[in-house]
Subunit: 281 residues, 2 copies
């Protein structure tokens, strides 16, 4: 059975195409340069939804002025062929002007959850994320939307936003997909040269070291953070930006782990900034 | 033909009740204490929509700390009977906790349009308005929503919000409904004692004086503002808070009126703050 994948550019086209799709509709928002992580979201969406839509948009408002917006990797033709193969029904590839037309001035902001971690080192990042996701939800009116656990704080923030604003969308967070050596899949891995690519496994190694300690009974969040720090420090090409061991729901930093915790970190490998996390407990 | 009006309290009940209503659905958001202005919105909604929903919620987040939240007039039984008579299908009367549950932390903000006028003298007001309206849109998923021109800046801000965030909702702004002597209908008119009620016509008189000058060819926005000032100054119980003659779309203050303009003012009559406006051109 083959069917045609609709590819649209403007909001009215999205609405029209969406109207033709049988529900429930699953939405997978992406910034393109798709990898197995994205495709795992699409496959999960196919499992539980009658139709699947994907957006490909490198959202400028979630990049800081000194970040990698202009060199963020793109491969639209490759992406579309992967999505076609995966059986996606509708793809939105808007231009910046389709999403942020002249006069645009409305923002969706989540407060407490965006203060630590990525929010602390990437001011304005989450405001860009929540605003564009709200726009995507209203454009597609999906029944369910799929995000990766790799961006753990983003997942928590979007869940909060959707709950707080009554979006009639189920948010499903899917497990991080990893390379064979443990590196979390990310479009930004494309920035790594071969040496850096090898060093980049240090995020997974550091998280694994802390997890092993945790599973052997160490519930002291400070110890676990220190274990991560030591592991990163031992890797010449890597520089730790932050490590956090926080309450899974509130993202508040912990002293002792009692319930579920999020162990997360951001690391520069060469000039490339990578993030990763494990859920503990 | 009689039918039952559904009255619900929680968000799940709204969703369930909404599912039973044939589309298109019209939504009239209110803070209750309903008057002819609200009812004109309901009647218009009935004209163009198969089903009509009304929300009654005195939204705390759009009141400043020194404003009249605690004494805002309420009359739920009277409101429900008016809405029943008007043939409304669904009414949502949430408690504060239904709209702002513990942990709530997401806000919708419109930037430039909220800076002048009401936004300047009521900091945070429009953030409360846009947030609750976004929530109402997502709760009811209406096809069309109805607001009064009396709150002119609110109308512009909600239109912008809905456009910017891709809400699939048509925004319709309906004319201000007035008492026989010109006073714009407002729940806050209930605060006025008989003397103040008489003085309160000064808003309409001031706007009318400026409109007459405009129609006789005076396009100088400063003249029109001065006319309003003089008229208000001559009324002993009234104190002008602001008068504005601004571009209708951007709400930027004008020197000369070329296109459509919004002439608006806020006046304290005794302790009661009233607003009104005329569209010029």
């Amino acid at each position: 059975m083959t069917k045609t994948m609709m590819i649209v550019k403007t909001l009215p086209e999205v609405r029209q195409a969406r109207g033709k799709l049988p529900g429930p509709l699953g939405l997978v928002p992406t910034m393109g340069y798709l990898h197995e992580g994205h495709l795992s979201l699409v496959r999960r969406a196919k499992e539980v939804c009658a139709s699947v839509a994907v957006s490909i948009f490198v959202n400028p408002t979630q990049f800081g002025p000194k970040e990698d917006l202009s060199r963020y990797p793109r491969n639209l033709e490759g992406d579309l062929s992967l999505l076609r193969e995966a059986g996606v029904d509708l793809v939105w590839t808007p231009d910046n002007e389709d999403v942020y037309p002249p006069g645009f001035q409305t923002w969706v902001s989540v407060e407490n959850l965006t203060l630590p971690l990525e929010g602390a080192v990437r001011p304005g990042h989450f405001r860009g994320v929540t605003t564009v996701v709200a726009k995507l939800f209203n454009a597609f009116t999906p029944d369910r939307a799929f995000f990766g656990q790799k961006d753990a704080q983003q997942a928590a923030v979007i869940r909060r936003m959707s709950l707080d604003l009554n979006f009639p969308v189920e948010i499903e967070i899917c497990p991080t997909v990893r390379e064979a050596d443990g590196l979390a899949m990310s479009s930004r891995n494309a920035y790594l040269n071969p040496q850096e690519r090898q060093s980049a496994t240090v995020l997974f190694r550091a998280l694994s070291a802390a997890k092993t300690a945790f599973e052997h009974g160490d519930k002291d969040a400070g110890h676990l953070r220190a274990l991560v720090e030591f592991t990163i420090a031992a890797e010449p090409l890597a520089r730790l930006q932050y490590v956090s061991c926080a309450d899974f729901d509130s993202l508040e930093e912990l002293e002792q782990i009692r319930g579920r915790a999020l162990l997360s970190l951001a690391v520069f490998v060469g000039d490339t900034r990578l993030i990763d996390n494990f859920i503990l407990g």
